[in-house]
Symmetry: C2
Subunit: 210 residues, 2 copies
């Protein structure tokens, strides 16, 4: 029987609907990151995901709901792992170097991520409150509060973290412009790779100054 056959094929790996849903989310992620909330059109999403508009609304009632799912996932991807490392017990230099590697690896695979998150926060007012709900802000604040007592120390640490993140993220956000400034013989990927160690050296220096 038809239904049983499907159950057999996909078994514990999930129903056919799970696969459709996964394909939809994957496509929506690509398209939202490329075009933003306003720029993504449901028709184009349906085409790229090889389904029809009706089906989109079956899985996610509105564009807004779909967008919030993608946005949450992007925030988690961008900050989840990094915050976990920052609140770990590792030595501070290890922390910072690990964060540098995490960002360079992540952003090489997904350079549009930071610009997407930062510009959508500014544009979709409902996200400003949603950001507060994500769990890694309180986690980070909690760790800072226990490790540093004086406000001056907190600010110094925040300056350090912000500097390292700035140095990692900005070159990817500015990739289209940066490409035009590189010597002809230098590919963007090569520039990025030498910069990975350059940023680690800066991080080490900033720690010593702390």
């Amino acid at each position: 029987m038809h239904l049983k056959f499907q159950t057999y094929i996909f078994g514990r790996m999930g129903k056919k609907s799970d696969i459709t849903r996964a394909k939809l989310i994957e496509t929506a992620r690509d398209l939202f990151l490329e075009k933003g909330f306003e720029g993504l059109k449901m028709q184009e999403l349906a085409d790229r995901a090889e389904m029809n508009k009706g089906l989109l609304h079956y899985y996610f009632k509105t564009k807004e709901i779909l967008f919030q799912a993608i946005f949450k996932e992007a925030m988690q991807n961008l900050f989840g792992g990094v915050v976990k490392e920052l609140v770990s017990n590792h030595a501070i230099e290890v922390k910072m170097h690990t964060v540098v590697d995490m960002y360079f690896d992540k952003l090489k695979a997904n350079p549009g991520l930071p610009l997407f998150v930062l510009s959508e926060i500014n544009r979709n007012p409902s996200l400003k409150s949603l950001v507060g709900i994500t769990d890694f802000i309180p986690i980070f604040l909690g760790a800072v509060a226990t490790k540093f007592k004086k406000e001056e120390e907190k600010t110094k640490f925040l300056n350090l973290v912000l500097s390292v993140i700035s140095l990692c993220v900005f070159p990817f956000a500015a990739q289209p412009l940066l490409t035009k400034l590189l010597p002809d013989s230098v590919k963007f990927e090569d520039f990025i790779e030498q910069r990975r160690n350059y940023v680690k050296k800066i991080a080490t220096h900033l720690i010593e100054e702390l």
Copy 2:
């Protein structure tokens, strides 16, 4: 006579149409920076500029043409003065400290500028070629070519410039998130002001390492 009266009032300061045009551009700048190309609706622009949609299209035939005017202006604002300083005869430390001050002043007044330029470049394919047309990229490249001969030196200089710009720009781009990480008693403006000198110190160190 009515027309003469207007001419008399505004005299050399420009015609009434210039004032209307200026108001339109000013409003469009605010609104495009806030919402991006797709996010700005001509109706909302007309309302905020206290005129009607018909008049919008009288001054700028299409939304796209209006947008390109605003975008070009934003690019000039963001890079024009900075590039001019970078290709000047000043000592390198003076250059970098001046650039830091320029960005901090500019972005305090206009924090949305970098995110607007960077995300629109990614989203509007026609801008990628328009970016190449702006004059400060060849100006910058020319100055770099005459000052540094070896490719390794060029890359080092580019690393320096990119680092300074990253450290200046990113905190403003991430303002909505950063605000949530500051100790309660520290206002964003105060954090930014202490950071101005912190970034200058880093810049000086990076130069010595150059």
